[in-house]
Symmetry: C2
Subunit: 343 residues, 2 copies
């Protein structure tokens, strides 16, 4: 603009008529300077486009303004949606989110933690892989940097955990299914990677027994995170082999259900809650695509608005007070039944 090139804060301080330390103070907190000087600085800011060098800032500041955000798998729209929600909360709080995906692999997860270490974040929000996680590596990391876990818990690790109340949510949908027809069997993976899967398994057993039924399980083989594929493949085998033990199936998560729905369709089974339908299928999570399956998937919607908000609030409190809580906080949020046409 006005000829002079602003290369650093010193230059900028000169053209704004304020001393550099005060300008520095302004950038760290615009409200910490007198109104008259603030307007002087902001006037200069409009004439010259200067921005403090992030690297120089972070080199000298003990705590950066970065908050790491690690999700198990960004390819899963469910996590993409949570990440988006949380990212916005972080930005809104004046921090800088750093989104990383573990791509379903523990080696990626520790690599992410390593990347974060280099960035010296003020705090980290971590949705761990769960059982696949390198527990020790995560624990060491949490020792160095304040971490709040969400979605999946690792007992005793991190300052807090916020997730869904699987006991409540599975109870809710089991109640509904039993009330509206035949009791469900539980469709899940033999060796799930996610701790929520185990909680849901137990919650299912609990809910069924409460209603006087003996819980039945379909445990399918399959590795990794390709849940739709597993649900489809194993579902197809079961259906075409006439091996389905029930006409009502509750899937451990929506992605399995989506695969199972595809298998049912391909086998010519009509899924739905009508009299003429062959099969009822329900899921859990309210996956972004659950509205567009055929038929729409009856499922449980997790309150990840609350989970995200609570997680962000927790990490911000730790960052701002500067001391970690003595007691590890935990809260589980209730799910909501979303009724569509599949069950």
């Amino acid at each position: 603009m006005a000829g002079a090139k602003i290369k650093n804060m010193e230059d900028f301080a000169a053209v704004s008529g304020i001393s550099r330390p005060t300008v520095s103070k302004y950038f760290n907190d615009p409200d910490s300077v007198r109104k008259s000087t603030r307007s002087k600085i902001e006037a200069a800011l409009e004439r010259y486009d200067y921005r403090p060098n992030i690297y120089a800032i972070n080199q000298n500041r003990s705590r950066t303004k970065n908050i790491g955000l690690v999700v198990p798998n960004l390819t899963d729209p469910f996590f993409a949606a949570i990440a988006r929600t949380i990212e916005e909360l972080i930005v809104g709080a004046g921090f800088n989110p750093l989104l990383l995906s573990s791509h379903g692999g523990p080696q990626h997860e520790v690599a992410n933690l390593d990347s974060l270490r280099a960035i010296k974040p003020a705090g980290v929000l971590l949705a761990p892989l769960g059982r696949a996680s390198d527990r020790d590596a995560v624990a060491v990391f949490c020792d160095e940097i304040p971490v709040v876990l969400f979605d999946a818990n690792l007992d005793g690790i991190g300052e807090a955990f916020y997730g869904s109340d699987n006991l409540q949510s599975i109870g809710l949908i089991v109640d509904y299914l039993c009330r509206s027809g035949e009791a469900p069997v539980f469709f899940e993976m033999e060796n799930p990677i996610n701790p929520n899967a185990f909680r849901r398994r137990h919650a299912f057993g609990h809910a069924m027994e409460r209603l006087g039924h003996t819980p039945q399980y379909i445990r399918v083989k399959g590795e990794g995170w390709d849940f739709e594929e597993i649900g489809y493949r194993e579902g197809y085998t079961l259906i075409s082999g006439g091996a389905l033990p029930s006409k009502t199936i509750l899937c451990s998560n929506d992605r399995l259900a989506i695969g199972l729905l595809a298998a049912a369709y391909e086998c010519g089974l009509r899924v739905g809650l009508g009299a003429g339908d062959d099969l009822r299928i329900a899921g859990h999570d309210d996956h972004p695509f659950a509205r567009y399956t055929c038929p729409g998937l009856t499922t449980i919607s997790q309150d990840y608005g609350a989970i995200g908000a609570q997680s962000v609030e927790a990490i911000l409190r730790i960052i701002e007070t500067g001391n970690r809580p003595e007691a590890r906080a935990t809260a589980l949020f209730e799910g909501r039944l979303v009724m569509r046409n599949s069950a």
Copy 2:
């Protein structure tokens, strides 16, 4: 470990018995030092866990090792998958990827560019929003930092563009649809945001005329990026109103098709290529969920392996040679027909 705490490169140089500048050289390129000194450093690296401070590094280095990666919408699994592919290529090349999503909004897009500016990346891979993009803002950014566009083009902006050959791919699927049955109508949004949508529209017209048909279009209303919802809502209205002009529908993209499939299902129409089926629906992109629709969606698979590889290669070449190409490179990659049961 061995008592002494390593706080910086100087300390580390001391315990490894090598001078600091040489250690610095090692960290910038391990192969640039003699094998004997490298093994000395690596021996020390195992005893003490030292890592150079990223902020100090980047403050002094003229070009950082960061590469920005901006996609229009991470909630879309299609872009999540591309991003993952590209991320890995960047890491493999020894650079540090920085993934940002524009969340479908131009204000987020410019905010992302602003964030990147602060990070002073060596280069940026940008999949712009397209018509919604703030063209001037992007152009200014490309002036400051080398940018390679992918997926969606902005004419004349950036050092290069790599994307799909919509003329070829739409031609391919139109050929297939005409060969195997009734000629398709083109289902699209009235005012698409993505430039690819326009190319596909024209490609459709071109392909149809080549085959001696007059192209017909269904142009539905709808704003934003909620394509499934738009496809569903408008599809439902059309089908239930008996207003479908053809039994064969080619959607401008898979997400519209997914919504349309749900609408068809709900209206009781059987989608498929069999004699008893009511409707054929095809899409474009080979969305990760296209395999699990009911029935599986016949579509075009974009070669985003090639697009990603080419884009990364281009930005790396610019970074490593240090000078931008005089001519703007462009390449379009061919799509592949993926036949499933919907058409």
